[in-house]
C-alpha cells in the first residue's frame, strides 16, 4: 500500500539520518544536540522504515532486538560513572582526552561522551521497543 516514493526516500534517508544522529550525539557537548536528541533521530530513522515498509523489515534492518539496547545503554552510562572509581574519584567524575580534528581544532572526548552514548542507546531502545511492539499488534 505504501508508495514506492516513500520507500525509496526512506531507504535513502536511513544512512543519512543515522549519521545525523551520531553527529548530533558527538557535537552535543558544544552545540545543540546530545545523546537524547541523537537517539530520537536514530529512532525516527528506523520508524520511518517501519512506516514505509512494515515492522518486520524494520526489525530486520535493526539486526537484533531493541531489547538489548536497554542494558547496553544503561550499562555504558553506569560504567562511565563507575570508571572514576578506578582512580579514586567520586562516581561520575569526568575525564577527557583531546582528539585533534582533521580540519584543525580538537574534539574533547571523555567519560561524559560515553555517558551520552549510553543515553543515546537507551532512548533509541526505548522508542523502538515500544513502537515496534505496538506496530506488531
Amino acid at each position: 500500500m505504501s508508495s514506492l516514493i516513500l520507500r525509496t526516500v526512506a531507504r535513502l534517508l536511513l544512512p543519512i539520518l543515522v549519521l545525523l544522529s551520531l553527529f548530533l550525539l558527538l557535537r552535543g557537548h558544544n552545540l545543540p544536540g546530545g545523546g537524547f536528541v541523537g537517539g530520537l533521530v536514530c529512532a525516527a530513522a528506523i520508524i520511518l522504515q517501519m512506516v514505509a515498509y512494515d515492522t518486520a523489515t524494520a526489525r530486520r534492518m535493526l539486526r537484533g532486538s531493541p531489547w538489548l539496547l536497554l542494558p547496553l545503554g544503561l550499562g555504558l552510562a553506569l560504567l562511565s560513572g563507575l570508571a572514576a572509581l578506578l582512580w579514586g574519584q567520586p562516581f561520575m567524575t569526568s575525564r577527557f582526552v583531546s582528539v585533534p580534528l582533521p580540519g584543525g581544532g580538537a574534539l574533547d572526548l571523555g567519560l561524559p561522551t560515553v555517558f551520552d552514548l549510553g543515553v543515546y542507546f537507551v532512548v533509541l531502545g526505548t522508542v523502538l521497543l515500544v513502537v515496534l511492539n505496538l506496530g506488531e499488534e
Binding site: L68, Q89, P90, F91, M92, S94
Partner: protein, 494 residues
Amino acid sequence: MTLHLVLPVALPLAGAILCLAFYRVARVQRAIALSSCAGLVLYLAGVLWPLLNGAGYATLRIGNWPAPYGIVLAVDLLSAIMLSLAAVVGLAVLVYALAWFRREPEEPLLYPLYLILLMGLNGAFLTGDVFNLYVFFEIMLVSSFGLMALGGERGQIEGTIKYLAISQLSSALFLLGAGLLYGLAGTLNMADLARKLAASGATPYTAIAALLFLGAFGIKAAVFPLFFWLPASYHTAKTPVTAILGGLLTKVGIYALCRLYTLLFPVHWAAQRSLFLGIAALTMVVGVLGAVAQGDIKRLLSFHIISQIGYLIMGLGLSSTLAMAATLYFMVHIVLVKTGLFLIAGIAEQVTGTTDLYAMGGLLRRRPFLACLFLITAMSLAGLPPLSGFYAKLGLVIAGLQSQEYWVVAVALGVSMLTLFSMVKIWTQAFMKKATTAAGAKEQLRPGLYVAAVGLAALALVAAVGAGPIYGVAQRASQQLFDSSAYLVAVLGR
C-alpha cells in the same frame, strides 16, 4: 567524602542491567537478583553502619562537583534507617518472589523491575538534592507501575491506570514545589536551600512551597484525602509485589516529608501542626474503617497501610524529638510487620487458593505454624505488648500527651482498638473457622515463602526485644533532624 556511598544505587542498577541482558536465562537472573539484594544488606551492615556510628554523616559529591552545584549524596541516621529497611525487606521479599514467580511467565521481567524499584528507593534515601529526589521518585513510580501490572489481568490494568494517573498529580505538585523553591533560592541542594530559606525566615512563599510538597508526598504516602489510588490498586498486584509496595513504597512519602520539613521548613512545621494532626487523625480513622469493611485479606491489609500512615503523620505533626524518635521506630516496626503480614497472607492465599476471607478457613488446624506466625505479626500490628507495635504506639502516645494534643491520642488509641478488631477478623475467618471449601490450590509450598515470612517475623521480634537500642538510634536520628547544623556542614563543607 565516602566514595562507596553510590553503591546502594549502583549495585541494584548493575543487577538490573545484567538481568536485562540475561533476559532469557532465568537461573542467571535469579542469582544476580539475589546477590544484588544480599550485597546491599552486607554493605549496609558491614560498611555503612560502622561508618555512621562514628561520624554520624556520610556524603559523596557526585562528579566531584562542589556542593551546591553538583548533586550531593548525604546519609544521616534517618537515611541509614530507611536504607536498611529497604535492603532487608528487599531481600526478604525477593526470596519470597523467587519462590512465588519461579517458572511463571512473568518471571524474566520481575527481577529487573524489582531491582530498579530498589534503586529508586535507595536513591531517594541517599540524595541531598530536591530535583534528584524527584528523579528517584519517578524511578520508583515507573518501576512500581511495571511491577503492579505484572500478570496483565484486567483488574490489574485498571488499578495500575488509577495509580499512574494519581501519581502524575503528585509528580506535578512535586515539580511545582521544587520549581518554586528554585525560583526563590536559586538552588536545588537541600542543605544550600536550608541555609538560604532560613536566612529569609518564615514567608508565605515557603509556606506554600511546603504545602505543595505536603500534597505531593501526601499522595505518595496515601494520606486522607489523597489516598484513593492505594486501595484501588495495591490488592490487584501479585502478592509479592503488593508486599514490597505496601511495605515500603508509601513510607518513602513519609521519609521525604521528614526530610524536607525538618531541613527546609522547620518554621512552618510547628505552624502547620493542626493541619498535620487533622490529616493524621482522618487518615487513621478512614483507613481503619476501610479495613473493617473489607472481606478480602489483601484489601484489608491495604487499607491498614493507610491507617498506619496516619500514625506516622501524627508523629511527624507533633514535631518534638520524642515524637520523631517514636515515628522512626514506628517506621521500622511497620515496614517489617506490614510486609510480613502481606507475605503471610500470600502463603494463606496459596494454601486456600483464595484471598476472600469468607471462603478461607481451617488454617489453624491445617497450618499451625503459619497461624503462630500470623498471630505474632498481627498482634504486633495491633500494637499489643510486648510486640514491636506497642513500643511504636506508646512513644506516640507519650509524645502526644506531652504536647497536650489529647484528642489525637484518643483517636490513635481508638484506631488501635479497631486495628485489633480487624486483625481478629482475619484470625477468626481464615484461621479459627472451619475450612469452608475442600483443600485449596497448592499443598506443596516452596520453602522460600516461609523463609521470607519467618525472617521478617523474626526481625519484628528482634525489633521488640531490642526496642531499647533501636529507640536509642531513633533518638539520635531525631536529634540530627532537629539540629541540622551538622548536616549542613557535612554537605556544604562549611
